[in-house]
């Protein structure tokens, strides 16, 4: 006795499943778009913050440094950096993410220049590291250096680390690469107080350099133990 097969049912179920599948893809894209919008919103906030800080700095430079502190600098750069990194890994290397990443690099440079000016003029306790890495090829040392810098930032709240993807298609980033003579074969690369360090650098080495940077500003024993 042969058994019957309802092929129509198999086909209908296939279409229902496909519809569910496409709905899931639509929802994924929808929430992905929301995340991009959130990134853009943070980016806009930072742009306003920096513009505001620059304006504030220009106004105050006519007077004194007593009202200037680190608080006038944008606090959202790190958040945007983390969210961008997550988006690159999870949303893919989309056009929007790449664009925001380029803009983020530009904001980093502006923030760096402004923070440096404030630090120099008013003696605000700070140290700066410019960090160049690559995502174009698997760079294990870059990942390890990233871990060191994260730990370093936890150790020294006054330390500002600016990360730049070597492959970012932005003239300002390219200018920095030229200024510090950074080659893609020497990544990861770090710039501290104008000095270029290439290859992996451990926590202890960077820690002493950060301490030295603080001392150059005349700030003693700045280490904040957790």
């Amino acid at each position: 006795m042969e058994k019957n097969i309802d092929w129509k049912k198999y086909l209908i179920v296939f279409f229902i499943t496909a519809a569910l599948f496409f709905t899931a893809i639509y929802l994924s894209n929808y929430f992905g778009g929301k995340k991009i919008a959130e990134l853009q919103s943070i980016q806009d906030n930072i742009a306003i913050d920096i513009l505001s800080s620059e304006t504030q700095y220009s106004l105050l430079s006519e007077l004194s440094c007593k009202n200037i502190s680190n608080s006038i600098l944008s606090g959202q750069l790190e958040e945007l950096g983390q969210k961008l990194e997550w988006s690159e890994n999870n949303l893919g290397d989309t056009e929007e993410v790449t664009y925001i990443k380029s803009y983020y690099s530009l904001l980093e440079i502006k923030d760096y220049l402004l923070a440096k000016r404030i630090s120099e003029r008013c003696g605000v306790k700070s140290a700066f590291i410019l960090y160049f890495y690559t995502t174009a090829e698997s760079c294990e040392l870059c990942q390890e250096e990233g871990l060191v810098l994260t730990a370093l930032r936890e150790e020294y709240p006054e330390l500002r680390v600016y990360s730049f993807d070597y492959n970012t298609d932005l003239s300002a980033v390219k200018a920095m690469l030229q200024i510090y003579k950074i080659k893609d074969t020497e990544l990861p690369a770090l710039v501290i107080d104008g000095d270029l360090l290439t290859g992996f650098r451990g926590f202890e080495e960077l820690s002493s350099l950060v301490e030295k940077s603080f001392k150059l500003q005349g700030v003693e024993d700045t280490k904040t133990k957790k």
Binding site: M1, E2, K3, N4, I5, K9, Y10, I12, V13, F14, I16, T17, L20, F21, T23, A24, I25, L27, S28, F31, G32, K35, E38, E79, Q82, K83, W86, N90, Q143, E144, L147, V148, T150, A151, E154, E155, G202, F203, K226
Partner: protein, 414 residues
């Protein structure tokens, strides 16, 4: 490499959702058929039925099992009972001997040879038109047999009817986690029954026409899952099997993770190896939905769970490696990561929604499963235990069973 992995995973998840939707559509097609009949059902005729109870070290439960058969709502002069002790090393035989003087009970003892040998010895003493097996750790509901037999009265072509197997005495978390799984299984088996594609007629009180064994031969070892093997053999011969949702048999469930592990390895090993033995049934039109739905579903389950296991191991390894590197490079420090508080970091890929859907279907099947068999809606904390326990351990059981298959190691019973 990641892209290939993504494609495989998407195919697996598409197939898994397809299976769930197929069952759901089958449910919607048949939803008017889930009537739970009142107690005291009567048949036009009461055919003779022999029930074989194979026992191995069941001293604590066998008396209760026999008592449940003696308490069935079925004329006692129409029931014959054959109790077979399969070389127990405890007091089971003495427990069985307490029933030896009853007119309709035959007690047999043999050297240990496995459940299927005990069943086959029992089968040699069957001279009735119908025969059933009842595991000695299970208890039949008083209405179970009459409800099962009503299916034969309705359909002369029917060769076997399986009951709904439910859990008894769920005391600890391991047992409570299995309770919703039995409702889920009741739902799936009933749907497969509608499709003519039942994959297993379980040990607890499935009733056969004696003709099945006369035509197909006795039970086989079947990789320690003789019930699966006989079902596959019946499907191969296009014998009609149904699932009776309102015939209940209550069974003891493993009380520890170790016991559950052994049981599941045996079940999954049996599924894989019987599938290999009967691979010729795959995608054969004459075997109907069993060939195009049930068997492919088992393959999808094996592939999906194996892939899931690989993914879990890879991700766990990757995480541990990154933590190890972090500690090696920077020492131990605690970072106030925003990831735990910011919904931005919730990964909402399409797979996330499909997994949600998959879990929703499972939840729905459990709820409907209980409504179908017991007439009660079901929402319980046991479901959380189920998802936690089975979510973590199912991939491990599958991988162990696959490994045993590869190295040809037959898992033990207990």
């Amino acid at each position: 490499m990641t892209q290939i992995g993504d494609i495989i995973f998407n195919i697996c998840i598409f197939a898994s959702v397809y299976i769930q939707v197929f069952l759901l559509v089958t449910f919607l097609e048949n939803k008017h058929k889930f009537v739970i009949r009142k107690e005291g059902l009567q048949l036009a005729t009461y055919p003779l039925v022999t029930i074989i109870i194979p026992c191995w070290n069941e001293e604590e439960t066998v008396a209760r099992t026999v008592a449940s058969v003696l308490g069935l709502n079925y004329p006692q002069n129409k029931i014959k009972l054959v109790i077979v002790d399969d070389g127990s090393t405890d007091n089971t035989w003495n427990e069985i001997l307490k029933f030896k003087d009853r007119e309709n009970i035959k007690v047999l003892c043999k050297e240990n040879g496995g459940k299927y040998t005990a069943l086959n010895l029992g089968l040699r003493h069957v001279d009735t038109e119908f025969v059933g097996c009842l595991d000695a750790d299970s208890v039949a509901h008083p209405e179970a047999l009459v409800r099962l037999m009503s299916y034969f009265e309705r359909d002369p072509l029917l060769m076997s009817v399986a009951p709904s197997v439910l859990t008894i005495r769920t005391k600890n978390m391991v047992q409570k986690a299995q309770r919703p799984e039995y409702y889920l299984a009741a739902f799936v088996k009933k749907m497969l029954g509608f499709l003519g594609a039942v994959h297993v007629v379980p040990g607890p009180l499935t009733i056969f026409k004696k003709e099945v064994f006369d035509k197909l031969g006795p039970y086989r070892r079947g990789h320690n899952t003789e019930d699966l093997e006989i079902t596959y053999r019946m499907q191969k011969n296009n014998f009609k099997i149904e699932q009776c949702h309102d015939a209940y048999v209550y069974t003891n469930t493993p009380s520890t993770l170790k016991k559950l592990y052994k049981q599941r390895i045996r079940w999954i090993y049996g599924s894989i190896n019987n599938l290999i033995d009967y691979r010729g049934l795959l995608f054969k039109r004459r075997h109907g939905n069993f060939s195009f739905f049930t068997l492919p579903s088992i393959i999808v389950a094996i592939l999906s769970v194996s892939y899931l296991f690989g993914m879990i191991v890879y991700n766990a390894g990757d995480y541990l490696y990154s933590k190890f590197m972090q500690i090696k490079i920077t020492g131990i420090y605690f970072s106030a990561s925003p990831h735990f508080f910011d919904p931005f970091f919730l990964n909402m890929k399409a797979v996330f929604f499909l997994m949600l859907l998959f879990y929703f279907f499972n939840l729905f099947s459990m709820i409907v499963g209980r409504k179908m068999v017991e007439g009660k809606w079901y929402l319980s904390v046991d479901m959380l235990y189920f998802f936690a326990l089975f979510g973590v351990f199912t991939p491990v059981w599958f991988i162990k069973a696959i490994f045993d298959t590869v190295v040809s190691r037959n898992p033990s019973w207990r």
